[in-house]
Symmetry: C2
Subunit: 469 residues, 2 copies
Amino acid sequence: MSLKAKVVANTCLALCLSLASFIGSAQQLNAEQKAELDALKATALKSELSYQLIESLTTEVGHRLMGSEGDKKSIIWAVNKMKALGFDKVWTEEVTGSYWLRGDAKAKIIAPYPHDVVVLALGGSIGTDKAGLTANVAHFETFADLKAVKDNSLDGKIAFVSYQMERHIDGEGYGPAVGTRVGGAVVAAQKGASAIVMRSVGTDNNRTAHTGVMRYKEGVKKIPAAALSNPDADLLVNQLKRGKDVSLYLNMTARTDAEVKAKSANVIGEFTGSELPEEIVSLGAHLDSWDVGTGALDDGLGIGMVMAAAHHIGQLPKRPKRTIRVILFAAEEVGLLGAKQYVVDHKAEMPQHVIGAEWDFGIGRIYKMTPGVGAQSLNAVRELAQYLAPMGVALSPDNNAKGQSDMSALSDAGMPSIDFAPDGSDYFDYHHTENDTLDKVDPEALKVNTAIYTMYAYFAAQTAADFRK
Amino acid sequence: MSLKAKVVANTCLALCLSLASFIGSAQQLNAEQKAELDALKATALKSELSYQLIESLTTEVGHRLMGSEGDKKSIIWAVNKMKALGFDKVWTEEVTGSYWLRGDAKAKIIAPYPHDVVVLALGGSIGTDKAGLTANVAHFETFADLKAVKDNSLDGKIAFVSYQMERHIDGEGYGPAVGTRVGGAVVAAQKGASAIVMRSVGTDNNRTAHTGVMRYKEGVKKIPAAALSNPDADLLVNQLKRGKDVSLYLNMTARTDAEVKAKSANVIGEFTGSELPEEIVSLGAHLDSWDVGTGALDDGLGIGMVMAAAHHIGQLPKRPKRTIRVILFAAEEVGLLGAKQYVVDHKAEMPQHVIGAEWDFGIGRIYKMTPGVGAQSLNAVRELAQYLAPMGVALSPDNNAKGQSDMSALSDAGMPSIDFAPDGSDYFDYHHTENDTLDKVDPEALKVNTAIYTMYAYFAAQTAADFRK
């Protein structure tokens, strides 16, 4: 036996022993349930339902920002679809907040070399005066550089942060980039800027800016905040490199309608458990979207996946033991308003949320699952991972998941969760842009991811394991 | 010797025999010239000049549609750059035409499901009435389908052609798609349509429409013509699939200023030949661009490549035998106006244009060269191909090149040409869009392509071979 053959044999032996030890432990699913799981997997891998739901939502409703006409239409759409899909119960729960109106945003380099440039107002920003504002640009390569200058030193200039987000499979480039978007206007105002313009938080090379939520702070002057497309940020940097003053014109009509309390709603549907109906396995996604694309990826995908997953399970002859609850959250984009409201509304019931998973991260194939569960249930998680492994899902050694986006609020309120991580390499090419449209949805990846969510929900609803900490 | 080894040996033998037969023939370049060619290659592969020129043109001038302010600025820019680069002679030749103003273009699906959609006016189109027009959509999957319906049968509807351009390495998908753009308005008007909206001629998935020239016909009613972005074309098709009437609103303020005769100019510079100054080796590119990006690929690239190639040769201690002439053509986009004017202005001199090559096809690496020369010079072309082969350039077996874009007009007037073909797979992602910007330029591919153009021009200016037919 060659050395190489020996190594292979030893590795096989180790794997076999590990498998044997696993097989030796008590199985969560019995043979009949295992057969149902396999059938659900086959159904989901064939079904066009999740795609059809996304196609319907993006074609018939379109974008749906908190408080907008699209938001209202999407709530009706979701209720009707859930009823048509045979959910045992369907209801809405009111969520209130403010209604921000994007208006128009125009920008132009005035000097030294005039160019129109593409900007979008950041979500929540005020507008400029009607005539717009023209000011020289103060350039900062990073948010830290902007923070480092003295208060009131910018003398009415437009602060420009040119930091470029990095592309990573798990989207880890988002964190270092998004700080400027959320907090840049407050810091720039403290430094004396008249407005802030930042390079879009995005990895694409389109003249399409990326919006997203920003915040003001009590006691700090509100200034307009906008994102510039990546190629236009390059152009601005190249003009600045020449060492002359660069003057920028900005005109934005964004505003928040302070008089109107906007109303939206969480839309909830469930298939009631046959043995433990009070114990809830939840599947989440957010129904709202930014107002620039049709919200196909963010988060039409999640809507389609979780509604289809629950429906497939609802087609079984008998309901699983636990209740499967689909929660379509309102107003995620403007600050998890729906999720926070859900935690308030369901305070007494929160301990009965035995596990939850959200989908809100695009169309890449799922390659990893990370639990955040009580240690006593890790064997059950390993069994689920075993079922998902043939679909390319690896089990993370960590047990610290906190729930994706909305589910993080439920997780903070004590709910165990499982996070499924997809290849997010190109997610930030489209995120919060007008390019977030149906054509970006890969129907084959969608089938696989829907199958994984279907299997997760079925398994969690049938297992005797308790995931709670 | 194994069978495989035998095949390899035989292949080597065949190659060696072929090389020996080539080496046996008279060489066009002597040892000193060969050394100069090698040095030029090394210089071009290191030089940032072509990139710097594109950066300067796109940053300091921007887009430059025939007759616009940018067009005027680009002429001054080109003259100054050529002088700074040491050209022996630099001059301009007037080109006149009309000045088309894009104005704004807005479109919206009104029913059954309201959506804003992204359109651009096609170049040369008229606008709508001030109030815009709203009409039901008549859908055709191909231009042939539109042609097939009866005259005056569309009853004021908006004709919509949804044909999707295919992606190919050599851009061959463009031909089948572009007919609708150029001739669609005439046919749609004959069928009784009030306007024509077509899916953009482009291979991208951005909500960015592709403009490009269209034509009217004497005696046929002029109707507005616009291109719709690919994702919006999908959305419109998906709404139409539902079988209900789909109503579209279109508002365009495009117009041609018929009162003003627009003036532009070909910008020409040359390094005068030391022995055969009247014989011209030409390098072409077009200085104008569409008015939506910064014309970095189309055709800033060509401008940078041909100016840099000539400059590198001009740095040699002695001018090559023939004159190297760089022609930056005006008004290519609106109908090769500069090239046509050049042929008129240089009628007597056309037989002295011994060979020409244009660059107007993006940033992919050159993988093929195709001559269109007198048969007596094919051995010389093979020698050039031998020098270029290490850079990945294969010699086409054909001898039928007609010159890229502008050069086709000179080719029609008798000039021999060589066409260099790059990988154009992604060219039509950006072509005629606002995304045609500097970041799309790959500096490394640009160096290689510039080196190839430098070597072509040097070789053609030094060889004793006569390429003329």
